[in-house]
Subunit: 156 residues, 2 copies
DNA sequence: GCGCTGCTTGACGCTAACGTAAACGTCAAT
DNA sequence: ATTGACGTTTACGTTAGCGTCAAGCAGCGC
């Protein structure tokens, strides 16, 4: 039975039933996202994940689709240069109670904060990309000027 | 004498002459970019900066406009989540010899590498921004539904 | 029962990126 | 000459984010 690399479906020992959606072991998630189980447990220590426990004495971790999503968001945050603390704040924010009006307003304020940070990063990104474009164009021009003898058209 | 916060012009002890362009002391740069002198010296240790030395025994650092630019690029790289090593590689790359054709080609290859990394980051950024938009819209909808009694129009 | 594999919890180690403190030089003003 | 303000080196301390053992439990096939 070939296991799908991107969507491991088998819960753990059961064939394909269970009550809820798909679940994952720690090594499955580790393989899927190309990180170590150690890293995943560390994220749990930092409050980024809270998997269910299963087996004798509830030793073994079992991750739901929701936990998988949190991990995915965590890794995306890391790629954006956020610290684990910042990521935890964002994750907590997204799951904070939003029942009352003041809660909603604070939520909006936090969202605006994050948006601002992201937009600043966007500017940095675009600036960096612009510089690369700049260098690349200049470089191609140099190449074209250095070796035009190989082509069949264009000259001095 | 009010010193300009964004463009400190006075070299150090001279009024406004010197042979080259504007120069900066370490504390001037530190204030301008809101970092500590310690950080700037650390970047130098890591090979990101190489300021001129001036004064008795050449003890004191003096930064040219070019060094200031390198520092600026360094900080931008940091905001993008790059390590100092990665930043140094990029800076070195931008000042590497590009005389021969193979050099130019390797340069182009490196540029393509960096561009790819940046474009991936761009995707992450846009995804994150999209999620914020999503949450914000939903949040505003909730607010509108929770307190329509304050408005003068619209109702069930 | 026995070893294999996979998962678990410590606990210590390690790199990156500075912070912080000590101890000294120096230039200008007093 | 002394006092600051600023700058310097050296060195140890700190935080984040895991890596790397070490030692043990739990099913599973034989």
């Amino acid at each position: 039975m070939p296991s799908s690399a991107t969507q491991p479906p088998t819960p753990i020992g059961q064939p394909a039933n269970a009550t809820a959606g798909t679940t994952y072991t720690i090594t499955e998630l580790a393989r899927e996202f190309d990180i170590t189980p150690r890293a995943i447990r560390f994220y749990e220590d930092q409050g980024l994940l809270s998997p269910d426990r299963v087996g004798a004495g509830g030793r073994q971790r079992l991750y739901s689709g929701r936990e998988r999503t949190r991990l995915k968001l965590t890794l995306r945050g890391k790629r954006l240069g956020l610290t684990l603390n910042e990521i935890r704040e964002i994750l907590d924010l997204y799951e904070s109670p939003r029942d009352t009006v003041p809660q909603l307003e604070r939520f909006l304020a936090s969202l605006a904060q994050h948006r601002q940070a992201l937009e600043r990063q966007m500017e940095d990104l675009q600036a960096q990309l612009a510089e690369i474009d700049q260098h690349e164009r200049q470089c191609r021009a140099l190449l074209a000027a250095a070796a035009p003898e190989h082509e069949g058209a264009a000259g001095a």
